[in-house]
Symmetry: C2
Subunit: 391 residues, 2 copies
């Protein structure tokens, strides 16, 4: 285990009707004027936004609103939000939605307190100051409700990049599993795929002697494998929704990722796909992960064999590589079984773009290092090869 | 899963030399004059206390000190600490030691800001205000470094009781696994037994559909079962010490206990033993747990069978009760293998005290409800029977 610091001071209000606590919690965490940030029509149609407003009104918290966040959230709306917050004297941002809305809220929060272009944070500048952010979560997926991370797409060039910093940890997050019951099966499965990816990206480590966090990660993947098919079969299975929601938070608040190097290759390679084709991030990951894992397997077959045995129940008959591979196959089979795509074609990606994708992945908009990955250091040619495995 | 709130805002500095950050962290969390609270000679002899003082001095943090905390920490020193803090204008308490020192520090922290007798909190008054507390941990065991709990023994009558409240969560905890390498094997094993008990007490639930937290608890127990024998064999196994230290914190910060009813029968029954005989809490738990589990097994054999299969690798041949029992036996065998006592005699407890123990357990010093336990509600006669299973 490596040395680390861990600080996850998000307050979680979990369960039925917990959105009614929004006003009380904004007050507790020092907000007086809130930007309500949200996406499309579903939080409006479902009445959720109205319930949150009512809760803020009851607590005498002022608010302004900014909707319109899209999946793979864009820089344009972030600039708009920054201007609105400054004009209105907003001191607290409440994201009502999923990972995209939360990530957009975080970017606005940092931008409001920064003189330069907020995009600087997405090119590597550490986020040290931001308005307080909180969330009312509507999909278990990104883990942004408990994480210090945010991912934004710059419209100019469609560049998708992440930023991170303690100031991005939400002050509170309201997790009501009921709010996720109206999600279509496809989106639910995309969320599950993203959660599983957060776990695998932490599992693939070069740090030795990390048994405790290995076991925790395996535990959360097993819970996801058990619970996800239940909600695909019955969207209103509250209990399975609840289990997934807590697993999704735990997968990404990093308590199971501390003290170990992590990977994030699959995320980096996927970001190019969702940036270019605007596909769902989780769907992209379902196609990317098996390809990356097959490509990187030989770097440490024993690690892949361990998860194959413990999570996927593969018998290890002494052939470590075969066991490792069977585990990757079991993962892909599972992802397909919950409705995820399995290749470029099903994802809507195109072979002709592979060189562009690999180049952007490795070099970004000119600032990339030319290499990708924490588990195995990959160069452009490797990334091309990985994309080809998805054909 | 039940509704819940979860708030664990402790900052963890983990790894080698992390005690050198004490001064920086006290400053970050707003302290200007610190009570350094500790136990016996080992933190002095090892030079740890000196290093912490040096770090405080370097950060220009003033401090006073109060040593002398004993295992099963006593009310007398708490009163002394409260008086000292008031006299010296202390605004921050830094516990340097294990669970006893931390629990004593928490009691002092609440007492300083309270007009009445601090013992009120240990008779059920909610802890809502306390001076900020932080820790430099020297043994992986109690989990108090990340928990909102404290257990104190009232000298008058030797009554051992717990108190809890958000104000008790440490602001920061310094976890340096090296500091635990000098612990004798017996104390190390006692710590492991306590950690495993924290996990079992959460596992034994009447809440349905708690797969995610079930899996997390199982994961942490498996890590403990794997790592503990390594440090018994080689006290200087830093990596195993590190894995145990993080598991011990995760076992009790409640991220794996949310949304489910919990038990705490073993702790309640053990507290009478360590209060009367001054035995180590973990050693007491090693004797108590198998007895409680055997007694309560029929309440939900499937739950015991599940942990038997998943953690202890017991084959379930269709006989749920036999599987459940084999799991309990495997637990006891493991505890004995790391050097824990197996019965009253080895613990230094006496059959003639059973009626007194059971009565105090159920009725405390006059304020008890007459019943004990969250998983199964036990009355005095049941508790007597359980103590008899330990003969």
């Amino acid at each position: 285990m490596d040395n680390f610091s861990f600080y996850a001071p998000t307050y979680f209000a979990f369960g039925k009707n917990s959105e009614e606590r929004a006003g009380e919690l904004v007050k507790r965490f020092g907000g007086s004027k809130v930007l309500l940030h949200f996406g499309g029509g579903s939080v409006v149609r479902s009445g959720l936004l109205e319930r949150v407003k009512k809760s803020l009104d009851a607590a005498e918290i002022a608010w302004v609103e900014l909707g319109g966040v899209k999946p793979n959230p864009r820089s344009g709306l972030v600039y708009e939000g920054i201007a609105l917050c400054r004009k209105e004297g907003v001191d607290f941002i409440l994201a009502v939605g999923g990972g995209s809305t939360i990530d957009s809220a975080k970017a606005i929060a940092a931008g409001v307190l920064y003189d330069g272009d907020f995009w600087d944070f997405y090119e590597g500048k550490p986020v040290t100051k931001a308005l307080p952010v909180a969330t009312v979560l509507t999909i278990a997926a990104a883990g942004s409700e408990g994480s210090p991370d945010s991912v934004i797409t710059k419209e100019e060039g469609m560049i998708k990049r992440g930023a991170s910093g303690e100031a991005y940890r939400p002050r509170f997050s309201i997790l009501n599993p009921e709010l996720t019951c109206t999600l279509p099966a496809y989106q639910t499965a995309c969320g599950a795929s993203d959660i599983i990816a957060h776990l695998y990206e932490r599992y693939l480590t070069n740090s030795k002697d990390v048994q405790t966090t290995d076991r925790m990660i395996e535990a959360l993947i097993m819970a996801m494998v058990e619970e996800t098919p239940k909600v695909i079969a019955d969207p209103n299975d509250y209990q399975a929704r609840a289990n997934i929601m807590w697993a999704g938070m735990m997968a990404h608040n990093n308590s199971c990722g501390v003290g170990r190097s992590q990977d994030w290759t699959s995320h980096e390679i996927e970001h190019e796909l969702s940036a270019l084709y605007d596909c769902a991030h989780g769907a992209g990951l379902a196609v990317v992960m098996p390809a990356v894992f097959r490509y990187n397997m030989k770097h440490d077959p024993a690690r892949f064999a361990q998860i194959a045995e413990r999570v996927w129940g593969i018998k290890n008959n002494g052939d470590v590589e075969a066991t490792a591979l069977a585990g990757i196959e079991a993962l892909q089979k599972f992802l397909i079984s919950i409705g995820m795509p399995k290749n470029f074609e099903e994802l809507g990606a195109q072979e002709k773009d592979i060189e562009y994708l690999a180049h952007t992945c490795c070099y970004g908009d000119g600032n990339g290092s030319g290499r990708v990955g924490g588990f195995v250091s990959l160069e452009e040619k490797d990334v091309q090869n990985i994309y080809r495995l998805m054909l």
